[in-house]
């Protein structure tokens, strides 16, 4: 399609504006993390590493990051296992209620977090409390896993439907039992789907706040909850800002990886 010069200039301006709305605030956060002015005055009066070193020393922030990492890894591990199994059941077998199972697995991602949160909180109180298990990191992981499963399930299901069973037949034909076939043929075929789904799952868990609020006991504060708690304490504002800046930098890595994977890098096949 050919555009007139005027249309081209207009569309470029709109795109620049749209990207600016997204990225200028992020840039401000990054700049403020080294802004020497305590009240984030603009323009910055100078560059300082003070906030970064204070954030690194902050015990609360450090444990929060650690909790979030544990929650994200735990939820993703559960999701990888259950999501892959469910995807195999739906893709490879015909059974009564297959469509219903498929819908039931996907639904939690669409449910409002507040509903999931209340429901899980009630269930944990009723079921786990009598067993002596209180709210904590474990319940956060279970809560996150409910919707993290979906990302794995969808990725793996799409992959299984696309590849079919011919490679597994070839493997069996060459003498491999089902375990070897899974290990040598099926799993390598799923690798990029699992990685992409896992990255998304981890990202979902890492910034989750609503379900976490309902399922985390006082002992298990994840990073989003810590940030939220400290957001309105003027004293902590520079530290929160540094944490946010760190997260921006760190987010680039998985997004870049996921993009490379889904664009079908040759090495991932």
């Amino acid at each position: 399609m050919t555009l007139s010069p005027a249309a081209r200039i207009a569309l470029r301006a709109v795109m620049a504006l749209g990207l600016a709305v997204i990225y200028v605030p992020l840039l401000v956060v990054l700049v403020n993390s080294v802004n020497a002015d305590r009240a984030f005055g603009w323009p910055p009066s100078g560059v300082t590493g003070r906030w970064w070193s204070r954030a690194l020393d902050n015990e609360g922030a450090r444990t929060a990051v650690l909790s979030s990492l544990k929650a994200g890894l735990g939820a993703t591990a559960i999701a990888l296992l259950l999501g892959t199994m469910a995807a195999f059941a739906v893709a490879r077998y015909r059974f009564f209620g297959r469509e219903a199972v498929s819908l039931a697995v996907v639904l939690p991602i669409a449910l409002p977090g507040i509903v999931t949160g209340i429901a899980l909180s009630n269930a944990f109180q009723v079921v786990l409390k009598p067993l002596g298990i209180g709210l904590g990191l474990f319940t956060v992981i279970v809560g996150h896993a409910t919707f993290c499963v979906v990302t794995i399930f969808n990725n793996v299901l799409a992959r299984l439907r696309r590849t079919g069973t011919r490679l597994e037949e070839a493997s069996a034909d060459l003498g491999a039992d089902p375990f070897r076939t899974f290990w040598h043929v099926t799993l390598p075929g799923l690798r990029s789907a699992l990685l992409a789904g896992g990255l998304l799952s981890f990202a979902l868990s890492f910034d989750e706040i609503i379900v976490t609020t309902f399922t985390a006991g006082p002992g298990a504060r994840t990073l989003p909850i810590w940030i939220f708690d400290n957001l309105f304490r003027p004293n902590q504002a520079p530290v929160v800002n540094v944490v946010a800046a760190a997260l921006i930098v760190l987010s680039v890595v998985p997004v870049y990886l996921a993009q490379r994977l889904s664009s079908g890098g040759r090495s991932m096949l």
Binding site: R166, L167, E169, A170, S171, A172, D173, L174, G175, A176, D177, R180, H184, V185, P188, G189, R191, R266, L269
Partner: protein, 366 residues
Amino acid sequence: MFSVMPDSAVRIRDLRKTFGSVEAVAGVDLDIGDGEFFSMLGPSGSGKTTVLRMIAGFERPTSGTIELGGRDVTSLAPFDRDVNTVFQDYALFPHLDVLRNVEYGLKVRGVPRAERRERARAALRSVRLDGLDGRRPAELSGGQRQRVALARALVNEPKVLLLDEPLGALDLKLREEMQVELKSIQRRAGITFVFVTHDQEEALTLSDRVAVLDRGRIEQVGTPAEVYERPATAFVAGFVGTSNRIGAVRVRPEKIHVGIEPDAGSGGESGGPAEDGPGRDGRAEGGAGTGDRHAFGTVAEVVYAGPATRFVIDLESGDRVVALQQNLRTSSMDVTRHRGARVRIGWHAEHEFSVPETGAGTAPAS
């Protein structure tokens, strides 16, 4: 010949397979001899691939038995059977390079690394594919993938090799090349080949014996010559080559000799002197239209096809026949001007065959 086979490589008895309400295989009996190149020929939907998949173990028969080398394998899993398959789309493992693809069968069976490397390289050499060990399947041409698939199966030295339309995806030139090579590999290795194809020429060229299948049943089993020259049913006569009906008998196109009537240069309906001598009792008089059977007709169509010319001839009896003449002396200029010419065709009684005619297609009275 393979008429008596005490040691069948594959023995199939009353094999049936239904998918839902569709009977894909409807009672098949087969004995395939040791070291035989055996083809299953049929149109799509004839059940040939389903039979192959049941021999490999990918489908479980609804009923019937399959024996490999005298051992009942009907209920065994694919990995417990001493057969290997070359798949139609090759099914190479995309994440493994050529050498690792070929090694795969040896690796999962626990053959030590050094030995399997050596055997895999030897298998690749036997299919004339050296120097591509490190390539991924995606980096190979269709013909190269075909060779890798073949090497991957052969390296396991199976008793029986199953080939599911393995040449279907190749272009004509490459296909003919691979046909020759398949045949020589089979002879050298002495492995039983069970070859599925819908290409009758391929089946006739390669096979020791051919089974022609239609709608889940075997129509005929025989050597290529038997199947071609003595078809057992109307289906075989029509599917394997072209068959002409002349009265109550059938004759293959290349068995009919076409003689242009001497005064027919002007073409059209002008009758020649021999016109009143129709029928199969006529005796050869001139050099044209040799044979001890004769008929007269008009050329409806002439197709020049390089080495041969195809005549479509409307006989006076009302039958339409196709005759194939080699272009030994003629050129395209010569043949095409015969359109509309009166001709006398001749053939030998020994080349006639007849099949049980079924349904509405019975031959019209002459």
